[in-house]
């Protein structure tokens, strides 16, 4: 006997599901008639989406002036919302790509879900840079499109880097998500009874038969895309942070921004996944797949990234003092004590204080508390972007040009409206696509790894599976 005792991981799927029951659990949602509640939610989401459409329509009609922007403060809610949504969009690809490469099998329960959230969040984010410009009809000039004037965009500009970073991230995330969907789409195609579904899912299943060759190609493609997506997770928010870090405005011009933005993005992304997951697993009865263990693991990520963000806040203050630059010092003191102190302390409370509760295992595993904190974290992360974007512009070098920014109703409606876009997309996803990566999760249940032959004698034993209970105490 070895002196090390094998402690099996808790099973990732509870409830002693076999393959068939998992298939039913997940795909029945898509095959059942549409529930009334879904329609009600869709009406609500569509109403919000219309709010966004109206807000953007009025914006295009009247001009950027309908927002609360002014002379020193040229960026307001639009950029805040952009960074916020992009940050949320970090969790999905992180879960699917990085955790995949690190062989974190627990990701399979939530990766589909989180990737969908990512794609929709990036869509919401993408709305803002496109509409916040003064001349929306000329926005395509940011793309390097050959033209008769031989006029290229300015490759020095971080905004241009943003264009490439976000569009690449969206493309790769989308492909990654779609490739993962192919076997599951085939499953639905095979289970579908009506012709429309058979044809529709059939088209998107790309003729998947589950042959060994298909699986081989699929695994390779998935691995390659995971490898491609991994650096993107880090690069997108790094480049978004360059919008600020490359400028020379006090409070923006800091080298800590890339890691700090990435940590913040993961922080908010995980919080958003939790918010959605806690609701969805309740409604769709997915507690066996999206277990409290998952929630706990994600809460640990939130605790770690939240503490990193808190550390970054403190480093900013230290560097402002250590640099000896008076403008830098002034802006940080003004953030904490100045006209926007309310936003600053909202940010500190939500982002630094609230995750610290997760040192307690009991709270980490408390569904209600986790749900509450996940929302608090996303409020805090919104304020973080508000503090960064607005306070630095409001109080920069020349005191004569200091200003104050207040949003108008149109700022608010545009932001609220993007939730309409997000939830509309998300509801469509829940209705028509399997919300759990079925093919992947089947591979990580105990049934996928039956030890039917005695290792020493080679005799066949009828499978007898003992599933250990989760251990109490520390993980």
């Amino acid at each position: 006997m070895s002196k090390y005792q094998y402690v099996p991981e808790p099973t990732l799927v509870k409830g002693d599901h076999d393959f068939a029951s998992l298939t039913r659990l997940v795909t029945d949602i898509n095959l059942r008639p549409t529930p009334k509640a879904w329609y009600l939610c869709m009406i609500g989401a569509n109403a919000l989406l219309m709010v966004m459409v109206v807000a953007i329509g009025y914006l295009i009609w009247e001009g950027t002036g309908i927002w609360g922007l002014n002379n020193p403060i040229g960026w307001g809610w639009a950029i805040i919302n952009f960074v916020w949504w992009v940050g949320i969009g970090h969790a999905g690809t992180l879960i699917s790509a990085i955790l995949f490469l690190f062989r974190q099998d627990w990701r399979t329960a939530i990766n589909r879900f989180a990737e969908a959230m990512t794609i929709f969040a990036v869509m919401c984010a993408g709305v803002f840079p496109a509409i916040h410009v003064g001349r929306i009809w000329a926005i395509y000039w940011v793309f390097p499109i050959p033209n008769q004037m031989a006029m290229w965009p300015n490759f020095n500009s971080p905004l241009l880097w943003d264009v490439f970073a976000v569009s690449t991230y969206f493309t790769v995330s989308f492909l990654f998500w779609y490739v993962g969907l192919v076997p599951d789409l085939a499953t639905i195609r095979d289970r579908a009874t009506d012709k429309v579904r058979k044809v529709a899912y059939g088209i998107f299943a790309l003729g998947w038969t589950g042959s060994n060759r298909h699986w081989w190609n699929y695994e390779k493609a998935y691995m390659i895309l995971a490898g491609l997506a991994t650096p993107l997770v880090l690069s997108v928010h790094t480049i978004v942070s360059f919008d600020f870090a490359v400028s020379l405005i006090p409070g923006w011009h800091t080298t800590i921004f890339p890691p700090y933005f990435v940590a913040g993005a993961i922080f908010s992304g995980f919080a958003m996944v939790l918010t959605l997951m806690i609701v969805a697993r309740k409604i769709y009865g997915m507690k066996d797949i999206m277990t409290d263990d998952h929630m706990e693991k994600m809460n640990i990520v939130i605790l770690v990234t939240g503490s990193m963000v808190g550390f970054a806040y403190m480093m900013e203050f230290f560097i402002a003092w250590y640099s000896g630059v008076e403008y830098e010092k002034a802006i940080f003191i003004l953030r904490a004590t100045g006209p926007y102190a309310w936003a600053y302390w909202a940010m500190m409370t939500c982002n630094v204080l609230s995750p610290q509760f997760f040192w307690s295992k009991k709270l980490r595993r408390s569904v209600g508390f986790t749900f509450f904190i996940s929302i608090v974290v996303n409020i805090g992360m919104w304020f973080e972007r508000f503090v960064i974007t607005v306070t630095s512009l409001a109080n920069d070098y020349l005191p004569s040009s200091w200003g104050y920014y207040s949003p108008t109703i149109w700022d608010v409606l545009t932001y609220v409206g993007t939730f309409g876009l997000f939830f509309t997309m998300f509801l469509l996803f829940l209705r028509f696509l399997p919300m759990v990566a079925l093919a992947e999760i089947k591979a990580v249940i105990p049934q996928a790894d039956p030890h039917n032959y005695d290792e020493e004698t080679g005799e066949f034993h009828k499978p007898k599976i003992e599933v250990p209970k989760p251990q109490s105490g520390k993980v």
Binding site: S247, L248, S406
Partner: protein, 1015 residues
Amino acid sequence: MSEEVKENTYWKSLSELANNKEYQKFAEREFPENATELTDGVSRRGFLRVMGASVALAGLAACRRPVQKILPYSKQPEDVVEGVPLFYATAMPVQGNLVGLIAENNEGRPTKLEGNDLHPASKGGSSIYNQAAILGLYDPDRSRFPLYNGNKASLEDFEAFASSHFANTSQRIAFISEANSSPTYNSIKEQALSKFNNATWVTYEPFGEDNVLEGNNIAFGSRLRAYYNFESADVIVSLDDDFMSSTHPNSVDYAKQVSARRKVTDTNGEMNRIYAVEDSFSLTGSYADHRLKIKASQMEGFTYALAAALSTRINGLNTFNGYSNEFSDHRWITVLADELAANAGSSTLSAGAQHKPEIHAAVAAINQALGNVGNTVSYLEIPYTDAQSSTAAFQEVVAEMKAGNIDTVVMVGVNPVYTASALDFGSALSNVETVVNLSDYVDETAKKSNWHVNHAHFLEAWGDGYSYGGALSVIQPQIQPLFNGLSGIEFLNTIVNGSLEQGYSLVQDTFRGFFSSGFNNRWTNILHDGIATTNNFNAVNVRISSDFASAMNRATSNISSTSGIEVVIRPDATLYDGRYANLGWLQELPDPMTKITWDNVALMSPAMAKRLGIEKPGPGNDAFDVVEITVNGKSIEIAAWIQPGHVDDSITLTTGYGRKGIGRVASSYIDYTAGGVDVYPLKATLDMFFTAAEVSKTGETYEIACVQDHHSLEGRDMYRQASLSEYKENPDFASFESVHTYPVPGMKEAAEMGEDEPISLFDEQTFPDYEPQWGMAIDLNSCFGCGVCVIACQSENNIPVIGKKEVKRGREMHWIRNDRYYVGDDPNSPQAVHQPVPCMHCELAPCEQVCPVAATTHSPDGMNQMTYNRCIGTRYCANNCPYKVRRFNFFNYPKEYLTTGDDPDIIQMAMNPEVTVRFRGVMEKCTYCVQRVNRAKIKAKIETGSVIPPDGAVKTACQQACPADAIYFGDISDEDTEVAKMKRNPRNYQMLEELNTRPRTSYVAKLTNPNPALA
């Protein structure tokens, strides 16, 4: 922030001085302001109203390429090359005094006015009123046709009325005229008085020079104008005389003279010394080396105490021997008396025209005793003023009108219903059978007149007149009258002679009388130069009159100063007495001291505000406390404004606001709440300008659009100054190293690498040596903050006026702004400094690096250029500009104006065709007047083959207009240019040099010349 306070503390508002305690309170409010956008969004109609004549739109630019037809000349007129402007001399009457101007004409329409170098009242400079006159010409709200009892009439109708009505020469006629120096006008006046034997003629100006004339009458026995020769004065003492502000009729000339004596080019330079004694913080006070604040009512005592102190030091002031009052022991009296006596003959004393005649008499006697007369001040005989020019004569006429003793009133260019509401002029008019009026707008007086005739703008009609100092000029029209109006001389001539005669022949007739021979040549020369002869006013060799002593004895024994709170009423720094109220440029020009636009306020000291319980609202909140001011039972409600440096127990109000129904810009509208408050009703009599009053806080608030007083900070180095002696000790006081005690970051490393400048990540722009390299230097020692650069820039560059609401939201569009900081730790008597900030045209421009579409780039001649067509409006450049000089078109400010309104073609004519009008959603900023630069380069290329124009051939609009010559512009690669010399001055510094943006615009630090005795 309190730890950060440095010795020389710069702060901009009181909330800052209170160490941001407000901010803490403010923290509790989420999204406090502007959160009601949906309910009061920019309504197109309201927007239009406020745009008035102010919004910029050039003829051919609109939002979506409107179809417009251009008709070519079928026959090319001589001298006209399309696209090449022509320049003609003219002159603008300001309160009767001409300022010589050069009008730029594009395709037959004047588009820009500039000072005339040859004219002594301008010397190339101009005032905000001169600059804004072009907008007045194209104001669509101007009266467009004569009115008979409110109904549209024609000029022929008026002519017929005049010939019949004025055939009766024995009727009792009262002529009420604005001040007018025109010889033609005054000869018609003579004709009128001789033709109508029962006529009286009075001159009425709400803020005229009557007190000065009357004071000099007391001192010297005749009504003389004090004309100062500040250029010869080493010591200037201003007793509440704001002679540098545009409200002074000779401000341009005086500003030139005063600032000329403050040009210090090296450490051997000397400066004049300016003392200002005043109640409210004026531009002259902010420019002075020493400033004392006393109440307006104490000025009389102060003046006599000064005279008494001087009487012990110099001869000729025996009248004041032995006199003493509360000020006699004042430190300032001793210091001023010593200083004036020590500089006898090269000092000068002046008093504000609003003060009573006795003060001017004492001032005149002091100047006479000091031997200043003939050196620093001369007393001029004004041919066109007489006793009937006084407010007393005007009041008598009004009394006669009320008594029904007047049959016909003829008013030229005056608006007494508004400005003389103290006399209840409106009801006096109703006792007159026939009221005839000539005015620019259908104003308060025109509405009460039987006949209203629309006044031709001075750029539309021939005229003539004298400058403040007596230079004779012809007012040359630049365009046919747009609305077929009459000039003052044509109007009066029609009344007197019964038929309409052209102004051209009237003026020519006058000048034929001046020149016995060679009229045609001389006339052509006058039109070309813009000036006929100078020194037409006789400088009197004055002697103290025999009545002076008794008058002074009466005055000194009868001093009354108000106890408690006094209210002082002054002409507004931007709207004057209200005549410029419909000019959006002036409405939106920030007040030089308060930086408020679109409104007037009640200025008061911080201590008084505290007593009244008035607090400055926190950041982002524009709702200011309102006070009720009651004088003799009449009261107004007006927003209170805490003015550091204002004398305690005193409130300053400015006139010109609260006008109703004269035009879309001036009038109050609910949705814009612009227009301010009419303060004339508080004046009980015309000559009174201060009075005791009761003041209380109402509890209401009023929103004020202030462009600068949003926030504040301390201890930064944007503005650098030293005293003259400190400068002589340490000429490099303004360098970064002197200010910070360490060199510019990166310089040491650069020096080790053999470089002149800190290294940069970006390509450093190296410029071709065959191109001129443009740069600017702004001499802070000359700038006194008048704001004419802002208006000149607005006129030259088609900058729109955006309205109070947009200004309140912080979207002002001015390409050059004038930052005003208060310096010092004492909010009760700080120093105020002014700093014009245009685009710095950085060589390593932060804006250029961040634009994603390369819409802002660098030109080979070193300008930071903005390509409007390429701009998509990310606003990243504005964010990244450390100087915050970029301006964004949040709405389509010009478009609303172009396509709506009753006559958009009129307004379009005011626009400069050489400058693109910017569309919604693009960024704009100072271009160094690139259109002027390129015009000069083209001209130089044609004439010399080189694109480098001679120094001085290019003047930016701000530089050209500046009456203090504070702005230098030119080729900095040529070390002989004026700007290059300024940049070699050790006082030259770059703003935010440590950022390594390498701005092409730099500043020359301010010097003060304090008296050690007052230190």
